[in-house]
């Protein structure tokens, strides 16, 4: 099963070239060339170059010098601030404190379930597993743990600076 271009025509019918370039480059897990991004986004290389230049100017993505060609990757600060903005939009200070407690509980649950104190220690256990299913279970749990830590760091940022962000936002306290 599988086809290199399956779904691409439907994707093109429901999105613009800019949408596709933006969604590909914002979802990258490593810096990639314009040629790679063009192919993944089903656009010409010229179109990809134009949109990547625009996105770089907007600070949505950033460039990384490569040996052969310029590479592009999501701007980590922009990505973080966007999540922070979503949190501030959706939650007041009290709700953020409750969200923090939920995230801390999720981490404690994983710690207790696997009897280790870090995602790294959990990943190390994959060298001792006997089945692929167990390996995948540990990889999932370690990834969830790391992702929850990342989420917690953003919630902490929102809580620590809530008063200042609220003042900048021009909103009255809830």
């Amino acid at each position: 099963m599988g086809n290199q271009s399956r779904g691409v025509e439907t994707w093109k019918n429901h999105t613009t070239a800019f949408d596709r370039v933006r969604s590909i480059v914002e979802g990258l897990d490593q810096a990639r060339t314009a040629q790679y991004i063009a192919e993944a986004a089903a656009v010409s290389e010229t179109t990809a170059h134009n949109h990547l230049k625009r996105l770089t100017g907007m600070d949505v993505i950033r460039t990384v010098a490569g040996e052969d060609a310029t590479r592009y990757e999501p701007d980590p600060l922009y990505t973080r601030f966007r999540t922070l903005r979503e949190l501030i939009n959706k939650h007041d200070h009290q709700e953020l404190l409750e969200l923090k407690a939920d995230l801390q509980q999720e981490i404690e649950d994983i710690e207790q379930q696997y009897g280790v104190d870090s995602p790294t220690a959990l990943r190390e256990q994959t060298t001792e597993t006997n089945t692929a299913a167990k390996t995948m279970e540990l990889v999932e749990a370690a990834s969830d743990w790391e992702l929850t830590r990342y989420h917690l760091s953003i919630v902490d940022d929102a809580i620590d600076n809530y008063t200042e962000y609220e003042a900048i936002d021009g909103r009255t306290p809830a």
Binding site: G2, R6, G7, L28, A132, E146
Partner: protein
């Protein structure tokens, strides 16, 4: 503080991959709603409501559950797109270690209580594009299952 400031951060990549997947799911005509779990903004999993009648296919409504895991840059990305509907039909397109077929990419479908597996070659492993590929596959599978 973020432990990966200034470099590759697999946690941020996982978060952003799910965010992009969510945006693409919202645009697809098969999908009538998407929610993030356990928290809508800080999600580790996505659940999308699938309504085949929205594209003219008479089949039960179902749920597509998506997980996405980025780890070390030298490690392959792992992900699952798993579908089940109101009639008990259950299948998924996954990319991770398993003991049934060669490679990581596979399609699995439950029949008589057990899963059967076959290899699946993903056209791309970029999150947004995988969404459209899998929903195209899903559309074909639910149409055939009627």
């Amino acid at each position: 503080m973020c432990a990966f400031d200034g470099g590759h951060d697999p946690r941020q990549a996982s978060h952003e991959a799910l965010r992009q997947i969510r945006e693409q799911l919202r645009r697809h005509p098969l999908i009538t709603g998407v929610e993030g779990l356990p928290h809508d903004t800080l999600h580790k999993e996505l659940r999308a409501d699938v309504d085949p009648s929205s594209i003219g296919v008479e089949a039960p409504r179902g749920t597509l559950t998506v997980r996405w895991f980025v780890s070390d840059p030298t490690d392959p990305v792992r992900f699952t797109f798993h579908y089940s509907d109101e009639s008990g039909f259950d299948c998924g397109w996954h990319h991770h270690e398993q003991d049934h077929v060669a490679g990581l990419g596979h399609y699995q479908q439950r029949t008589s209580g057990n899963y059967s597996y076959e290899e699946f070659q993903f056209g791309s492993k970029e999150p947004s594009r995988v969404v459209w590929e899998i929903l195209d596959e899903l559309q074909m599978v639910v149409t055939q299952e009627r």
